[in-house]
Symmetry: C2
Protein backbone atom coordinates (compact mmCIF):
# COMPACT_ATOMS: atom_id res chain seq x y z
CA UNK A 1 0.00 0.00 0.00
CA UNK A 2 1.13 3.53 -0.75
CA UNK A 3 1.43 6.00 2.12
CA UNK A 4 -1.51 8.02 0.79
CA UNK A 5 -3.72 4.89 0.73
CA UNK A 6 -2.78 4.09 4.31
CA UNK A 7 -3.62 7.64 5.37
CA UNK A 8 -7.00 7.47 3.60
CA UNK A 9 -7.75 4.15 5.27
CA UNK A 10 -7.09 5.62 8.72
CA UNK A 11 -8.97 8.84 8.03
CA UNK A 12 -12.11 6.80 7.31
CA UNK A 13 -11.95 5.46 10.87
CA UNK A 14 -10.77 8.55 12.72
CA UNK A 15 -13.82 10.75 12.84
CA UNK A 16 -12.83 12.47 16.05
CA UNK A 17 -10.13 15.01 15.43
CA UNK A 18 -8.89 18.04 17.34
CA UNK A 19 -10.14 21.60 16.78
CA UNK A 20 -7.76 21.58 13.83
CA UNK A 21 -8.46 18.67 11.44
CA UNK A 22 -5.55 16.34 10.62
CA UNK A 23 -3.38 17.63 7.79
CA UNK A 24 -1.23 20.32 9.39
CA UNK A 25 2.30 19.97 10.74
CA UNK A 26 0.82 19.27 14.17
CA UNK A 27 -2.52 18.88 15.89
CA UNK A 28 -4.00 21.46 18.21
CA UNK A 29 -6.52 21.77 21.03
CA UNK A 30 -7.82 24.94 22.65
CA UNK A 31 -6.72 25.25 26.28
CA UNK A 32 -8.30 28.40 27.67
CA UNK A 33 -6.66 31.37 25.93
CA UNK A 34 -3.97 29.26 24.29
CA UNK A 35 -3.53 26.37 21.89
CA UNK A 36 -1.89 23.13 22.93
CA UNK A 37 0.02 21.86 19.91
CA UNK A 38 1.19 18.25 19.62
CA UNK A 39 3.07 16.32 16.98
CA UNK A 40 4.82 12.99 16.51
CA UNK A 41 7.27 11.72 13.94
CA UNK A 42 8.86 8.31 13.81
CA UNK A 43 12.42 7.74 12.64
CA UNK A 44 13.22 4.22 11.36
CA UNK A 45 16.93 3.52 11.01
CA UNK A 46 16.69 1.39 7.88
CA UNK A 47 14.77 3.91 5.81
CA UNK A 48 15.50 7.27 7.44
CA UNK A 49 19.10 7.16 8.58
CA UNK A 50 22.02 7.34 6.12
CA UNK A 51 25.06 5.32 7.27
CA UNK A 52 27.18 8.43 7.49
CA UNK A 53 25.04 9.85 10.32
CA UNK A 54 26.49 9.40 13.81
CA UNK A 55 24.18 8.05 16.53
CA UNK A 56 24.41 11.43 18.23
CA UNK A 57 23.18 13.13 15.06
CA UNK A 58 20.36 10.58 14.85
CA UNK A 59 19.21 11.36 18.40
CA UNK A 60 19.46 15.11 17.82
CA UNK A 61 17.48 14.90 14.60
CA UNK A 62 14.69 12.87 16.22
CA UNK A 63 14.12 15.90 18.45
CA UNK A 64 14.63 18.53 15.72
CA UNK A 65 12.10 17.07 13.30
CA UNK A 66 9.37 17.24 15.94
CA UNK A 67 10.35 20.63 17.32
CA UNK A 68 10.26 21.97 13.76
CA UNK A 69 6.63 20.90 13.39
CA UNK A 70 5.79 22.75 16.61
CA UNK A 71 7.68 25.84 15.40
CA UNK A 72 5.85 25.85 12.07
CA UNK A 73 2.55 26.16 13.97
CA UNK A 74 3.83 29.32 15.64
CA UNK A 75 4.09 27.53 18.98
CA UNK A 76 6.71 27.57 21.69
CA UNK A 77 7.88 23.98 22.34
CA UNK A 78 7.31 22.98 25.98
CA UNK A 79 8.10 19.28 26.21
CA UNK A 80 9.39 16.17 24.45
CA UNK A 81 8.58 12.46 24.77
CA UNK A 82 10.01 9.48 22.94
CA UNK A 83 9.54 5.76 22.43
CA UNK A 84 12.42 3.57 21.38
CA UNK A 85 12.38 0.29 19.51
CA UNK A 86 15.76 -1.34 20.08
CA UNK A 87 17.07 -4.42 18.27
CA UNK A 88 18.61 -7.02 20.58
CA UNK A 89 21.98 -6.79 18.80
CA UNK A 90 22.35 -3.01 18.83
CA UNK A 91 25.63 -2.15 20.52
CA UNK A 92 25.50 -0.07 23.65
CA UNK A 93 27.90 2.58 22.28
CA UNK A 94 25.46 3.31 19.49
CA UNK A 95 22.58 3.57 21.95
CA UNK A 96 24.64 5.81 24.22
CA UNK A 97 25.30 8.07 21.23
CA UNK A 98 21.56 8.30 20.52
CA UNK A 99 20.89 9.14 24.17
CA UNK A 100 23.61 11.82 24.13
CA UNK A 101 22.14 13.30 20.95
CA UNK A 102 18.64 13.47 22.42
CA UNK A 103 20.03 15.02 25.60
CA UNK A 104 22.00 17.64 23.66
CA UNK A 105 18.99 18.52 21.56
CA UNK A 106 16.83 18.96 24.66
CA UNK A 107 19.49 21.32 26.04
CA UNK A 108 19.70 23.16 22.73
CA UNK A 109 15.94 23.70 22.53
CA UNK A 110 15.55 24.12 26.30
CA UNK A 111 13.01 21.30 26.56
CA UNK A 112 12.22 18.82 29.34
CA UNK A 113 11.62 15.15 28.54
CA UNK A 114 8.24 14.20 29.97
CA UNK A 115 8.07 10.49 29.27
CA UNK A 116 10.12 7.77 27.59
CA UNK A 117 9.46 4.16 26.69
CA UNK A 118 11.79 1.40 25.52
CA UNK A 119 10.89 -1.78 23.66
CA UNK A 120 12.51 -4.56 21.72
CA UNK A 121 12.08 -4.25 17.96
CA UNK A 122 13.71 -5.55 14.79
CA UNK A 123 15.17 -2.21 13.79
CA UNK A 124 16.16 0.92 15.69
CA UNK A 125 13.10 3.11 15.89
CA UNK A 126 12.78 6.47 17.60
CA UNK A 127 9.30 7.88 17.81
CA UNK A 128 9.60 11.47 18.94
CA UNK A 129 6.72 13.54 20.26
CA UNK A 130 6.80 17.28 20.89
CA UNK A 131 4.28 19.50 22.65
CA UNK A 132 3.96 23.26 22.38
CA UNK A 133 1.82 26.24 23.29
CA UNK A 134 0.71 28.95 20.88
CA UNK A 135 -1.06 32.24 21.46
CA UNK A 136 -2.13 32.30 17.84
CA UNK A 137 -1.96 29.26 15.60
CA UNK A 138 -0.19 29.26 12.22
CA UNK A 139 -1.72 26.74 9.84
CA UNK A 140 -1.27 25.77 6.22
CA UNK A 141 -4.60 27.23 5.23
CA UNK A 142 -4.33 30.93 5.98
CA UNK A 143 -2.53 32.30 2.88
CA UNK A 144 -4.42 35.09 1.05
CA UNK A 145 -3.97 36.62 -2.44
CA UNK A 146 -1.73 39.67 -2.41
CA UNK A 147 0.55 38.34 0.34
CA UNK A 148 4.23 37.62 0.02
CA UNK A 149 5.70 34.09 0.13
CA UNK A 150 8.87 33.89 2.20
CA UNK A 151 11.36 31.34 3.50
CA UNK A 152 13.84 31.40 6.38
CA UNK A 153 17.53 30.66 5.87
CA UNK A 154 18.60 28.98 2.64
CA UNK A 155 17.58 25.86 0.76
CA UNK A 156 19.14 22.96 -1.10
CA UNK A 157 22.09 22.09 1.14
CA UNK A 158 20.46 19.01 2.69
CA UNK A 159 19.93 17.29 -0.67
CA UNK A 160 23.25 18.54 -2.06
CA UNK A 161 25.02 17.06 0.99
CA UNK A 162 23.18 13.79 0.46
CA UNK A 163 24.24 13.78 -3.20
CA UNK A 164 27.90 14.38 -2.29
CA UNK A 165 27.80 11.45 0.10
CA UNK A 166 25.70 9.12 -2.09
CA UNK A 167 27.84 9.70 -5.19
CA UNK A 168 31.15 9.90 -3.36
CA UNK A 169 31.76 13.28 -5.00
CA UNK A 170 35.16 14.83 -4.42
CA UNK A 171 34.62 18.41 -3.36
CA UNK A 172 36.63 20.86 -1.27
CA UNK A 173 36.12 20.77 2.47
CA UNK A 174 34.88 24.35 2.23
CA UNK A 175 32.09 23.11 -0.05
CA UNK A 176 31.32 19.91 1.82
CA UNK A 177 31.19 21.34 5.31
CA UNK A 178 28.12 23.58 5.02
CA UNK A 179 26.35 20.90 2.98
CA UNK A 180 27.01 18.16 5.54
CA UNK A 181 26.06 20.47 8.37
CA UNK A 182 22.59 20.90 6.92
CA UNK A 183 22.31 17.27 5.76
CA UNK A 184 23.38 15.76 9.08
CA UNK A 185 22.72 18.44 11.71
CA UNK A 186 19.72 20.52 10.71
CA UNK A 187 18.16 22.80 13.32
CA UNK A 188 14.56 23.81 13.85
CA UNK A 189 13.53 27.48 13.51
CA UNK A 190 11.98 27.90 16.94
CA UNK A 191 12.56 31.62 17.53
CA UNK A 192 11.37 32.41 14.00
CA UNK A 193 8.20 30.32 14.39
CA UNK A 194 7.23 32.11 17.60
CA UNK A 195 7.90 35.51 16.00
CA UNK A 196 5.89 34.56 12.91
CA UNK A 197 2.87 33.61 14.99
CA UNK A 198 2.31 37.35 15.45
CA UNK A 199 2.50 38.40 11.82
CA UNK A 200 2.32 35.54 9.31
CA UNK A 201 -0.95 34.27 7.81
CA UNK A 202 0.27 30.70 7.20
CA UNK A 203 3.38 28.57 7.62
CA UNK A 204 4.78 25.12 6.92
CA UNK A 205 8.22 23.65 7.57
CA UNK A 206 10.33 22.14 4.81
CA UNK A 207 10.27 18.46 5.67
CA UNK A 208 9.68 17.01 2.23
CA UNK A 209 11.00 19.71 -0.12
CA UNK A 210 10.08 23.34 -0.82
CA UNK A 211 8.15 22.50 -4.01
CA UNK A 212 5.96 19.95 -2.25
CA UNK A 213 5.34 22.26 0.73
CA UNK A 214 4.35 25.14 -1.58
CA UNK A 215 1.84 22.90 -3.36
CA UNK A 216 0.39 21.82 0.01
CA UNK A 217 0.19 25.42 1.23
CA UNK A 218 -1.55 26.57 -1.98
CA UNK A 219 -4.03 23.67 -1.94
CA UNK A 220 -4.89 23.96 1.73
CA UNK A 221 -5.27 27.76 1.48
CA UNK A 222 -7.21 27.60 -1.79
CA UNK A 223 -4.87 30.06 -3.51
CA UNK A 224 -2.24 30.19 -6.22
CA UNK A 225 1.47 30.85 -5.65
CA UNK A 226 4.06 32.33 -7.98
CA UNK A 227 7.73 31.92 -7.14
CA UNK A 228 10.61 33.66 -8.88
CA UNK A 229 13.51 31.23 -9.39
CA UNK A 230 16.05 34.06 -9.08
CA UNK A 231 14.75 34.91 -5.58
CA UNK A 232 15.30 31.43 -4.14
CA UNK A 233 18.02 31.54 -1.44
CA UNK A 234 20.00 28.63 -2.79
CA UNK A 235 22.56 27.49 -0.21
CA UNK A 236 26.33 27.68 -0.49
CA UNK A 237 27.77 24.77 -2.47
CA UNK A 238 24.48 23.63 -4.00
CA UNK A 239 25.31 25.09 -7.39
CA UNK A 240 28.71 23.39 -7.47
CA UNK A 241 27.28 19.96 -6.60
CA UNK A 242 24.44 20.35 -9.11
CA UNK A 243 27.02 21.31 -11.75
CA UNK A 244 29.13 18.21 -11.05
CA UNK A 245 26.06 16.02 -11.55
CA UNK A 246 24.62 17.93 -14.52
CA UNK A 247 21.56 18.97 -12.51
CA UNK A 248 19.62 22.21 -12.31
CA UNK A 249 20.48 23.82 -8.93
CA UNK A 250 16.96 25.25 -8.73
CA UNK A 251 15.52 21.73 -8.95
CA UNK A 252 17.91 20.50 -6.26
CA UNK A 253 16.83 23.38 -4.02
CA UNK A 254 13.12 22.75 -4.62
CA UNK A 255 13.43 19.01 -3.98
CA UNK A 256 15.62 19.20 -0.88
CA UNK A 257 13.82 17.72 2.16
CA UNK A 258 14.49 17.86 5.89
CA UNK A 259 15.73 21.41 5.65
CA UNK A 260 13.48 22.47 8.54
CA UNK A 261 13.33 26.01 7.21
CA UNK A 262 9.95 27.72 7.55
CA UNK A 263 7.95 28.77 4.52
CA UNK A 264 5.41 31.46 5.38
CA UNK A 265 3.05 34.00 3.90
CA UNK A 266 2.70 37.55 5.18
CA UNK A 267 1.04 40.77 4.04
CA UNK A 268 3.30 43.43 2.42
CA UNK A 269 2.43 45.77 5.34
CA UNK A 270 3.62 43.37 8.04
CA UNK A 271 6.70 42.00 6.29
CA UNK A 272 8.74 45.03 7.38
CA UNK A 273 8.35 44.14 11.04
CA UNK A 274 10.12 40.79 10.75
CA UNK A 275 13.48 41.01 12.47
CA UNK A 276 15.23 37.79 11.43
CA UNK A 277 16.85 36.78 8.14
CA UNK A 278 14.50 35.53 5.46
CA UNK A 279 13.90 35.80 1.72
CA UNK A 280 10.82 36.89 -0.20
CA UNK A 281 10.56 34.26 -2.92
CA UNK A 282 7.21 35.04 -4.50
CA UNK A 283 3.61 36.01 -3.96
CA UNK A 284 0.19 34.57 -3.29
CA UNK A 285 -2.27 34.96 -6.18
CA UNK A 286 -5.90 34.21 -6.85
CA UNK A 287 -6.74 31.05 -8.75
CA UNK A 288 -4.79 27.93 -7.98
CA UNK A 289 -1.56 26.10 -8.73
CA UNK A 290 2.08 26.82 -7.96
CA UNK A 291 4.15 28.43 -10.68
CA UNK A 292 7.86 28.96 -11.14
CA UNK A 293 8.93 32.06 -13.05
CA UNK A 294 12.38 32.27 -14.64
CA UNK A 295 13.98 33.61 -17.87
CA UNK A 296 12.16 30.86 -19.76
CA UNK A 297 8.79 32.22 -18.62
CA UNK A 298 6.22 30.81 -16.22
CA UNK A 299 5.54 27.10 -15.76
CA UNK A 300 3.87 24.83 -13.22
CA UNK A 301 6.34 24.08 -10.46
CA UNK A 302 7.18 20.35 -10.55
CA UNK A 303 6.09 18.61 -7.32
CA UNK A 304 9.65 17.80 -6.35
CA UNK A 305 10.22 16.54 -2.84
CA UNK A 306 10.55 13.56 -0.64
CA UNK A 307 7.75 11.34 -1.98
CA UNK A 308 9.16 11.87 -5.45
CA UNK A 309 12.75 11.83 -4.38
CA UNK A 310 13.29 8.25 -5.40
CA UNK A 311 12.38 8.98 -9.00
CA UNK A 312 14.28 12.22 -8.91
CA UNK A 313 17.34 10.49 -7.55
CA UNK A 314 17.01 7.79 -10.18
CA UNK A 315 17.08 10.53 -12.76
CA UNK A 316 20.07 12.11 -11.06
CA UNK A 317 22.02 9.01 -10.34
CA UNK A 318 21.45 6.97 -13.45
CA UNK A 319 21.17 9.50 -16.24
Amino acid sequence: MRESEIIDLFLRHLKRQGELPLGDDAGALRLGEKWLVATNDMLVRKTDVPDIMTPEQVGFKAVTMNVSDIASMGARPIGFLFSLGIPGDLDSDYLEGVARGIGKALDFYGLPVLSADTNEADDLIIDGIALGLAERLLTRSGAKPGELVCVTGDIGRALAGYLVWKNGLEVDDAVRKPLYEKFLEPRARVREGIALSKVASSAIDISDGLAKELHLLAEMSGVGIEVRAESLPIGKGVEEVAGLLGLDPVEVALASGEEFELVFTVSPELVESIDFEFSIIGRVTGGKGVYLVDEGGKRVMPRLGWEHLTEFQMKILYS
Copy 2:
Protein backbone atom coordinates in the same frame (compact mmCIF):
# COMPACT_ATOMS: atom_id res chain seq x y z
CA MET B 1 21.26 -4.99 27.31
CA ARG B 2 18.50 -5.35 29.88
CA GLU B 3 15.68 -2.83 29.88
CA SER B 4 16.84 -1.41 33.20
CA GLU B 5 20.36 -0.85 31.80
CA ILE B 6 18.92 0.95 28.78
CA ILE B 7 16.83 3.17 31.05
CA ASP B 8 19.87 4.00 33.20
CA LEU B 9 21.88 4.83 30.11
CA PHE B 10 19.23 7.29 28.92
CA LEU B 11 18.70 8.82 32.35
CA ARG B 12 22.38 9.77 32.44
CA HIS B 13 21.83 11.92 29.36
CA LEU B 14 18.38 13.31 30.09
CA LYS B 15 18.99 15.90 32.73
CA ARG B 16 16.06 18.07 31.75
CA GLN B 17 12.84 16.54 32.97
CA GLY B 18 9.37 17.93 33.60
CA GLU B 19 8.13 19.24 36.96
CA LEU B 20 7.63 15.57 37.79
CA PRO B 21 10.84 13.54 37.31
CA LEU B 22 10.66 10.47 35.04
CA GLY B 23 9.41 7.37 36.80
CA ASP B 24 5.66 7.85 37.06
CA ASP B 25 3.00 6.49 34.72
CA ALA B 26 3.16 9.73 32.77
CA GLY B 27 5.04 13.02 32.71
CA ALA B 28 3.54 16.31 33.78
CA LEU B 29 4.01 20.04 33.28
CA ARG B 30 2.28 22.87 35.12
CA LEU B 31 0.01 24.87 32.83
CA GLY B 32 -1.46 27.70 34.87
CA GLU B 33 -3.83 26.18 37.44
CA LYS B 34 -3.69 22.71 35.88
CA TRP B 35 -1.27 19.95 35.03
CA LEU B 36 -0.69 18.83 31.48
CA VAL B 37 -0.06 15.09 31.61
CA ALA B 38 1.56 13.19 28.73
CA THR B 39 2.50 9.57 28.17
CA ASN B 40 3.61 7.28 25.37
CA ASP B 41 3.72 3.51 25.03
CA MET B 42 4.85 1.51 22.04
CA LEU B 43 3.26 -1.75 21.01
CA VAL B 44 5.42 -4.09 18.90
CA ARG B 45 3.49 -6.89 17.22
CA LYS B 46 6.17 -9.55 17.56
CA THR B 47 6.63 -9.19 21.31
CA ASP B 48 3.39 -7.60 22.54
CA VAL B 49 0.61 -9.11 20.47
CA PRO B 50 -0.57 -12.70 20.96
CA ASP B 51 -1.76 -14.32 17.68
CA ILE B 52 -5.27 -14.69 19.04
CA MET B 53 -5.78 -10.95 19.22
CA THR B 54 -7.75 -9.45 16.35
CA PRO B 55 -6.34 -6.34 14.63
CA GLU B 56 -9.28 -4.38 16.03
CA GLN B 57 -8.36 -5.48 19.56
CA VAL B 58 -4.75 -4.48 18.86
CA GLY B 59 -5.79 -0.98 17.79
CA PHE B 60 -8.13 -0.57 20.77
CA LYS B 61 -5.47 -1.72 23.21
CA ALA B 62 -2.88 0.72 21.82
CA VAL B 63 -5.25 3.48 22.95
CA THR B 64 -6.27 1.85 26.24
CA MET B 65 -2.73 1.34 27.53
CA ASN B 66 -1.97 5.03 27.11
CA VAL B 67 -5.29 6.29 28.41
CA SER B 68 -4.78 4.11 31.48
CA ASP B 69 -1.50 5.88 32.26
CA ILE B 70 -3.30 9.22 32.04
CA ALA B 71 -6.11 7.95 34.29
CA SER B 72 -3.66 6.71 36.90
CA MET B 73 -2.33 10.27 37.22
CA GLY B 74 -5.82 11.47 38.09
CA ALA B 75 -6.08 13.26 34.76
CA ARG B 76 -8.88 13.57 32.24
CA PRO B 77 -7.61 12.37 28.83
CA ILE B 78 -7.93 15.12 26.20
CA GLY B 79 -6.19 13.82 23.09
CA PHE B 80 -4.44 10.93 21.38
CA LEU B 81 -1.64 10.72 18.82
CA PHE B 82 -0.04 7.72 17.18
CA SER B 83 2.85 6.70 14.96
CA LEU B 84 2.69 3.53 12.90
CA GLY B 85 5.49 1.36 11.62
CA ILE B 86 4.04 -0.80 8.85
CA PRO B 87 5.79 -3.73 7.18
CA GLY B 88 5.55 -3.71 3.38
CA ASP B 89 3.79 -7.08 3.32
CA LEU B 90 1.10 -6.33 5.93
CA ASP B 91 -2.28 -6.98 4.37
CA SER B 92 -4.67 -4.10 4.13
CA ASP B 93 -7.49 -5.95 5.96
CA TYR B 94 -5.27 -6.23 9.02
CA LEU B 95 -4.40 -2.54 8.84
CA GLU B 96 -8.06 -1.63 8.37
CA GLY B 97 -8.84 -3.63 11.52
CA VAL B 98 -6.21 -1.71 13.48
CA ALA B 99 -7.64 1.59 12.21
CA ARG B 100 -11.16 0.51 13.18
CA GLY B 101 -9.94 -0.49 16.65
CA ILE B 102 -8.22 2.86 17.21
CA GLY B 103 -11.33 4.68 15.97
CA LYS B 104 -13.62 2.68 18.28
CA ALA B 105 -11.36 3.30 21.25
CA LEU B 106 -11.33 7.05 20.56
CA ASP B 107 -15.14 6.97 20.49
CA PHE B 108 -15.23 4.89 23.67
CA TYR B 109 -12.96 7.28 25.56
CA GLY B 110 -14.34 10.39 23.82
CA LEU B 111 -10.93 11.46 22.55
CA PRO B 112 -9.84 13.35 19.43
CA VAL B 113 -6.80 12.21 17.45
CA LEU B 114 -4.42 15.16 17.17
CA SER B 115 -1.69 13.81 14.96
CA ALA B 116 -0.73 10.59 13.20
CA ASP B 117 2.35 9.42 11.35
CA THR B 118 2.97 6.38 9.15
CA ASN B 119 6.28 4.79 8.26
CA GLU B 120 7.68 1.65 6.76
CA ALA B 121 9.16 -0.75 9.33
CA ASP B 122 10.07 -4.41 9.62
CA ASP B 123 7.30 -5.22 12.09
CA LEU B 124 3.95 -3.68 12.90
CA ILE B 125 4.54 -1.01 15.51
CA ILE B 126 1.97 1.30 17.06
CA ASP B 127 3.36 4.03 19.25
CA GLY B 128 0.45 5.58 21.10
CA ILE B 129 0.60 8.91 22.90
CA ALA B 130 -2.08 10.28 25.21
CA LEU B 131 -2.45 13.75 26.72
CA GLY B 132 -4.52 14.70 29.72
CA LEU B 133 -5.31 17.52 32.14
CA ALA B 134 -5.41 17.17 35.91
CA GLU B 135 -6.53 19.57 38.62
CA ARG B 136 -4.51 17.63 41.16
CA LEU B 137 -1.86 15.12 40.21
CA LEU B 138 -1.80 11.54 41.51
CA THR B 139 1.71 10.15 41.62
CA ARG B 140 3.37 6.99 42.85
CA SER B 141 5.05 8.78 45.70
CA GLY B 142 2.23 10.09 47.86
CA ALA B 143 1.29 7.05 49.99
CA LYS B 144 1.48 7.63 53.78
CA PRO B 145 1.49 5.22 56.72
CA GLY B 146 -1.98 4.57 58.10
CA GLU B 147 -3.70 4.78 54.71
CA LEU B 148 -5.60 2.01 53.00
CA VAL B 149 -4.40 0.25 49.85
CA CYS B 150 -7.17 -0.33 47.34
CA VAL B 151 -7.71 -1.64 43.83
CA THR B 152 -10.49 -1.11 41.29
CA GLY B 153 -12.33 -4.04 39.70
CA ASP B 154 -10.79 -7.49 39.93
CA ILE B 155 -7.40 -8.99 39.15
CA GLY B 156 -5.93 -12.09 37.53
CA ARG B 157 -8.17 -12.57 34.53
CA ALA B 158 -5.70 -11.17 31.98
CA LEU B 159 -3.01 -13.73 32.87
CA ALA B 160 -5.54 -16.54 33.37
CA GLY B 161 -6.91 -15.84 29.87
CA TYR B 162 -3.38 -15.87 28.49
CA LEU B 163 -2.73 -19.21 30.20
CA VAL B 164 -5.92 -20.73 28.77
CA TRP B 165 -4.87 -19.69 25.28
CA LYS B 166 -1.17 -20.53 25.62
CA ASN B 167 -1.82 -23.98 27.06
CA GLY B 168 -4.86 -24.73 24.92
CA LEU B 169 -6.83 -25.45 28.11
CA GLU B 170 -10.32 -26.81 27.61
CA VAL B 171 -12.63 -24.78 29.81
CA ASP B 172 -16.33 -23.92 29.64
CA ASP B 173 -17.30 -20.90 27.61
CA ALA B 174 -18.67 -19.37 30.80
CA VAL B 175 -15.15 -19.56 32.26
CA ARG B 176 -13.28 -18.54 29.13
CA LYS B 177 -15.41 -15.54 28.18
CA PRO B 178 -14.66 -13.23 31.14
CA LEU B 179 -11.00 -14.26 31.01
CA TYR B 180 -10.63 -13.53 27.30
CA GLU B 181 -12.52 -10.29 27.70
CA LYS B 182 -9.90 -9.00 30.13
CA PHE B 183 -6.97 -10.61 28.27
CA LEU B 184 -7.95 -9.26 24.85
CA GLU B 185 -10.19 -6.25 25.51
CA PRO B 186 -9.13 -4.53 28.72
CA ARG B 187 -10.50 -1.05 29.40
CA ALA B 188 -8.89 1.90 31.18
CA ARG B 189 -10.42 3.25 34.41
CA VAL B 190 -10.90 6.84 33.31
CA ARG B 191 -13.88 7.85 35.45
CA GLU B 192 -12.27 6.26 38.50
CA GLY B 193 -8.96 8.02 37.93
CA ILE B 194 -10.61 11.43 37.72
CA ALA B 195 -12.66 10.72 40.86
CA LEU B 196 -9.55 9.51 42.71
CA SER B 197 -7.66 12.71 41.92
CA LYS B 198 -9.86 14.37 44.57
CA VAL B 199 -9.30 11.87 47.39
CA ALA B 200 -6.42 9.43 46.82
CA SER B 201 -2.86 10.09 47.99
CA SER B 202 -1.17 7.97 45.29
CA ALA B 203 -2.07 5.75 42.36
CA ILE B 204 -0.57 3.47 39.74
CA ASP B 205 -2.18 1.36 37.04
CA ILE B 206 -1.62 -2.38 36.76
CA SER B 207 0.45 -2.67 33.60
CA ASP B 208 3.05 -5.15 34.78
CA GLY B 209 1.30 -7.00 37.61
CA LEU B 210 -0.13 -6.00 40.99
CA ALA B 211 2.88 -7.27 42.94
CA LYS B 212 5.34 -5.26 40.87
CA GLU B 213 3.16 -2.13 41.04
CA LEU B 214 2.87 -2.41 44.84
CA HIS B 215 6.65 -2.67 45.17
CA LEU B 216 7.05 0.41 42.96
CA LEU B 217 4.46 2.33 44.95
CA ALA B 218 6.09 1.42 48.27
CA GLU B 219 9.58 2.29 47.06
CA MET B 220 8.63 5.58 45.47
CA SER B 221 6.56 6.62 48.50
CA GLY B 222 9.18 5.44 51.00
CA VAL B 223 6.66 3.33 52.92
CA GLY B 224 5.81 -0.27 53.62
CA ILE B 225 2.67 -2.06 52.39
CA GLU B 226 0.85 -5.03 53.87
CA VAL B 227 -1.67 -6.88 51.73
CA ARG B 228 -4.09 -9.55 52.95
CA ALA B 229 -4.32 -12.40 50.43
CA GLU B 230 -7.96 -13.06 51.36
CA SER B 231 -8.90 -9.48 50.44
CA LEU B 232 -7.60 -9.68 46.87
CA PRO B 233 -10.50 -9.43 44.40
CA ILE B 234 -9.49 -12.42 42.31
CA GLY B 235 -11.45 -12.47 39.06
CA LYS B 236 -14.03 -15.03 37.96
CA GLY B 237 -12.39 -18.13 36.46
CA VAL B 238 -8.89 -17.42 37.73
CA GLU B 239 -9.12 -20.06 40.46
CA GLU B 240 -10.30 -22.71 38.01
CA VAL B 241 -7.47 -22.04 35.54
CA ALA B 242 -4.88 -21.94 38.32
CA GLY B 243 -6.25 -25.28 39.59
CA LEU B 244 -5.95 -26.91 36.16
CA LEU B 245 -2.30 -25.85 35.98
CA GLY B 246 -1.43 -26.60 39.61
CA LEU B 247 -0.77 -22.92 40.33
CA ASP B 248 -1.59 -20.70 43.30
CA PRO B 249 -4.47 -18.41 42.20
CA VAL B 250 -3.06 -15.64 44.42
CA GLU B 251 0.22 -15.78 42.51
CA VAL B 252 -1.60 -15.67 39.18
CA ALA B 253 -3.54 -12.62 40.38
CA LEU B 254 -0.40 -10.86 41.64
CA ALA B 255 1.53 -11.53 38.42
CA SER B 256 -1.21 -10.63 35.96
CA GLY B 257 -0.19 -7.67 33.80
CA GLU B 258 -2.11 -5.34 31.49
CA GLU B 259 -5.13 -5.42 33.75
CA PHE B 260 -5.35 -1.61 33.69
CA GLU B 261 -7.01 -1.56 37.08
CA LEU B 262 -5.95 1.28 39.36
CA VAL B 263 -4.13 0.62 42.63
CA PHE B 264 -4.46 3.57 45.00
CA THR B 265 -3.95 4.66 48.57
CA VAL B 266 -6.44 6.71 50.53
CA SER B 267 -6.95 7.75 54.13
CA PRO B 268 -9.58 5.83 56.19
CA GLU B 269 -11.55 9.10 56.50
CA LEU B 270 -11.82 9.69 52.77
CA VAL B 271 -12.39 6.11 51.66
CA GLU B 272 -16.10 6.36 52.48
CA SER B 273 -16.63 9.03 49.86
CA ILE B 274 -15.58 6.84 46.93
CA ASP B 275 -18.63 6.00 44.85
CA PHE B 276 -17.37 3.29 42.48
CA GLU B 277 -16.61 -0.38 43.05
CA PHE B 278 -13.24 -1.14 44.57
CA SER B 279 -11.61 -3.42 47.17
CA ILE B 280 -9.52 -2.56 50.20
CA ILE B 281 -6.66 -5.04 49.96
CA GLY B 282 -4.30 -3.83 52.66
CA ARG B 283 -2.69 -0.88 54.38
CA VAL B 284 0.29 1.42 54.20
CA THR B 285 2.78 0.99 57.05
CA GLY B 286 5.96 2.63 58.25
CA GLY B 287 9.25 0.98 57.36
CA LYS B 288 9.64 -0.49 53.92
CA GLY B 289 8.90 -3.56 51.83
CA VAL B 290 5.69 -5.16 50.59
CA TYR B 291 4.27 -8.05 52.58
CA LEU B 292 1.60 -10.61 51.87
CA VAL B 293 -0.39 -11.88 54.82
CA ASP B 294 -2.26 -15.19 54.64
CA GLU B 295 -3.01 -18.21 56.89
CA GLY B 296 0.68 -19.14 56.67
CA GLY B 297 1.65 -15.80 58.23
CA LYS B 298 3.41 -12.77 56.75
CA ARG B 299 6.04 -12.96 54.03
CA VAL B 300 7.70 -10.63 51.52
CA MET B 301 5.49 -10.41 48.46
CA PRO B 302 7.34 -11.93 45.51
CA ARG B 303 7.97 -9.36 42.77
CA LEU B 304 5.73 -11.12 40.31
CA GLY B 305 4.85 -9.27 37.16
CA TRP B 306 5.69 -8.65 33.59
CA GLU B 307 9.51 -8.43 33.81
CA HIS B 308 9.45 -11.69 35.69
CA LEU B 309 6.67 -13.21 33.68
CA THR B 310 8.97 -15.15 31.43
CA GLU B 311 10.45 -17.06 34.33
CA PHE B 312 7.05 -17.41 35.91
CA GLN B 313 5.61 -18.74 32.69
CA MET B 314 8.54 -21.11 32.32
CA LYS B 315 7.68 -22.42 35.74
CA ILE B 316 4.04 -22.69 34.78
CA LEU B 317 4.47 -24.12 31.35
CA TYR B 318 7.30 -26.54 31.84
CA SER B 319 6.86 -27.83 35.35
